[in-house]
């Protein structure tokens, strides 16, 4: 009834080519942005912002990165946890060497390092596909983990063996380090994620995004039509790893405050891959839904016994958590293999024709 395009005639291809041609979708976007930029900072608790929203946004960004590669280009990677690490360690080196440069700029610059590393490890994709590519990206993961441990220069020879995030200011506001306020960190993360999501959407809806999807759907036909597989695959690896790298840098500098190699291990790679699959391959909205599902659901499950006044010890809750989330993942994939994004689309389609489905 309320969600439909009836009466909204497109008078130009420009309007029809817009990314959200339906007015209600554009209103929804503004609504989400208002919630994220105004409502949550005004009314959200420190716990909500620091432990739910910031990591959710960081993982959503990493998920968008992996989705570009896996969902849009059809190349699977199990190395994205490590690519996040490349972003974090290179930001650490950059803030060490350029202490006076805006840290946000350095975080974005670190993306170029992870992009370069991602491209190098993406080279085998020109020759191999599927499981074999998974194995080479897994090798990248282990090689990089090794490097993060064995090259003390990367963590500035700290005794802890970890990245220790120094204090940095942007426009006289402390944004990194122990004294940075939750809100300032949240706004930096949110702004970067919003802008990078918008950019990802632009790329995906243009020539380059189409060339990725062409490679994904039928690489031979794509090549006959004029896509150069070398360029399409490597550009996808580069953009994807850029996103992962920035996400990794945000994770360490604006959320954790310190990190060692465990923060980028293969579990992280798997976690992001789950987010992509649960959210929906080849969907930006799905990337957010998937990150929310995998990150926020366990927090809710953990909170339930406390809210209901049940006295269950923490490790039992943790076990239950694994079981419930695991079961839900399986259930979801059986019901809708195309992920939450597809469910969302079906729901919207139903809304569009409601209340007269015929």
């Amino acid at each position: 009834m309320f969600y439909r395009e009836a009466g909204q005639y497109k008078t130009s291809y420009k309007e029809d080519s817009a990314i959200f041609p339906i007015l209600q979708d554009r209103i929804a976007i503004w609504f989400y942005l208002a919630v994220a930029f105004v409502i949550i900072p005004l009314f959200g608790s420190e716990f909500l912002i620091n432990s739910v929203m910031i990591p959710f946004l960081v993982f959503a960004l990493a998920t968008i990165g992996l989705n570009i590669l896996t969902g849009y280009t059809g190349q699977i990677s199990l190395g994205h946890g490590a690519f996040m690490g490349v972003g974090a360690y290179s930001t650490y080196k950059l803030v060490t060497y350029f202490p006076d440069t805006n840290v946000v700029v350095l975080i974005l610059l670190s993306g170029f390092f992870s992009a370069a590393v991602g491209m190098v490890f993406g080279l085998p994709s020109l020759k191999i596909k599927g499981f074999y590519l998974v194995v080479t990206t897994l090798a990248a993961q282990f090689f990089l983990e090794w490097a993060f441990i064995r090259i003390p220069w990367l963590y500035n020879y700290n005794d802890s063996g970890a990245i220790e995030v120094p204090q940095r200011e942007v426009f006289n506001i402390i944004v990194t380090g122990p004294d940075a306020s939750v809100l300032s960190r949240y706004f930096v993360v949110l702004s970067i994620v919003v802008v990078m999501t918008w950019i990802a959407s632009n790329i995906i809806h243009g020539r380059i995004g189409r060339s990725w999807m062409m490679i994904r759907d039928m690489d031979i036909a794509a090549e006959l039509i004029g896509v150069r597989p070398l360029f399409a695959k490597l550009s996808s690896f580069a953009v994807s790893s850029f996103y992962a790298g920035v996400a990794g840098a945000l994770m360490v500098f604006l959320w954790l405050g310190a990190a060692e190699v465990e923060s980028f291990d293969v579990n992280v790679s798997f976690q992001i891959l789950f987010m992509v699959i649960i959210g929906g391959l080849g969907s930006l909205v799905g990337s957010f839904l998937g990150a929310a599902f995998i990150w926020i659901l366990p927090i809710v499950i953990r909170a339930v016994p406390r809210i209901m006044g049940m006295d269950i010890n923490a490790s039992t809750v943790e076990q239950l958590n694994f079981m419930i989330v695991g079961a839900l993942i399986v259930l979801f994939l059986i019901i809708e293999p195309h992920g939450l994004a597809r469910m969302w689309a079906i729901l919207k389609q139903k809304l569009r024709v409601w209340p007269f489905p015929y």
Binding site: I19, I203, G206, R207, M213, M214, M218, I225
Partner: protein, 270 residues
């Protein structure tokens, strides 16, 4: 018919000189010889049919023409120049585009995106502008969208514009594939069994589209087709293959009455 002169067909179209010439092409896959010493040419503006029983080497011949297979022997002369060994997308950039025997659409993309994909080689705006979807990149996108919309109108597929192609019936998928090939504005269009698996009505539509493409855009067309009725209606000249060898070449009437062709088809029991 002399070789380099143009002539006018009974229905008033002008057929020009030789656009592409295949000289003594031999193509082997390991022990299998798919094409044995075949020579023939395609003239500017004509509809050239390639016929033959299953496994005759027709698809292989199209694959040679668009640079996907590289023949072990022989020469390909395109626009008067001997073509060097090249990658398929180079053939595409020289104006050769094609459809496939088994529909090879991008199943996860909409009809519109599939046809836009056909314009890949004509779009050049760089990554920076793509990122912002603004200025030159947006302008380019809209310009090409206009061309694509013309093709959509031409092939009468307006109503499926936004549908994912995977959900379309086979006949429509074939039509979208033709649209995608046309989007590249090819000078030589290769169609591999464009009417396979279609009912009579769909075949008539497709025949009309092929004739219209040839007539309105002057596109040279090489097509593989099993239905002799369709071949007789569409083609200016026909080359017949059997077991990788050329067995006849000429007007549809000549080829149809050729004894070797009759034997080949009877032998395979069509």
């Amino acid at each position: 018919m002399s070789f380099d002169e143009s002539y006018t067909t009974p229905d008033g179209r002008t057929i020009g000189g030789v656009l592409m010439e295949m000289r003594n092409i031999t193509l082997r896959f390991g022990g299998v010889t798919a094409i044995k010493d075949i020579s023939f040419d395609i003239r500017q503006g004509e509809i050239r049919a390639i016929i033959g029983p299953n496994g005759a080497g027709k698809t292989s011949m199209l694959n040679v023409i668009n640079g996907f297979y590289h023949p072990q022997e022989g020469e390909i002369i395109f626009r008067g120049e001997t073509r060097r060994r090249m990658r398929p997308y180079e053939a595409a950039s020289q104006g050769i585009s094609r459809t496939f025997q088994n529909v090879a659409l991008f199943q996860g993309m909409s009809t519109l995106d599939n046809i836009m994909a056909g314009r890949t080689l004509k779009m050049h705006k760089n990554f920076f502008w793509q990122m912002l979807r603004y200025g030159p990149a947006l302008q380019e996108e809209i310009e090409h969208r206009k061309v694509v919309e013309k093709i959509i109108d031409f092939l009468e597929i307006q109503s499926i514009r936004k549908k994912p192609v995977g959900s379309l019936p086979y006949g429509l998928q074939k039509r979208v594939e033709l649209a995608r090939a046309l989007a590249a504005e090819p000078s030589l269009l290769l169609l591999d069994e464009p009417m396979a698996g279609m009912n009579v009505e769909e075949k008539e539509d497709m025949s009309r589209f092929i004739l219209d493409v040839n007539d309105e855009f002057g596109t040279t067309i090489a097509l593989i087709e099993h239905d002799m009725g369709v071949v007789m209606d569409l083609a200016d000249r026909v080359v017949a293959l059997d077991y990788g060898k050329k067995i006849a070449d000429g007007t549809p009437q000549e080829v149809q009455s050729n004894q070797a062709v009759i034997d080949a088809y009877l032998g395979v029991a069509h």
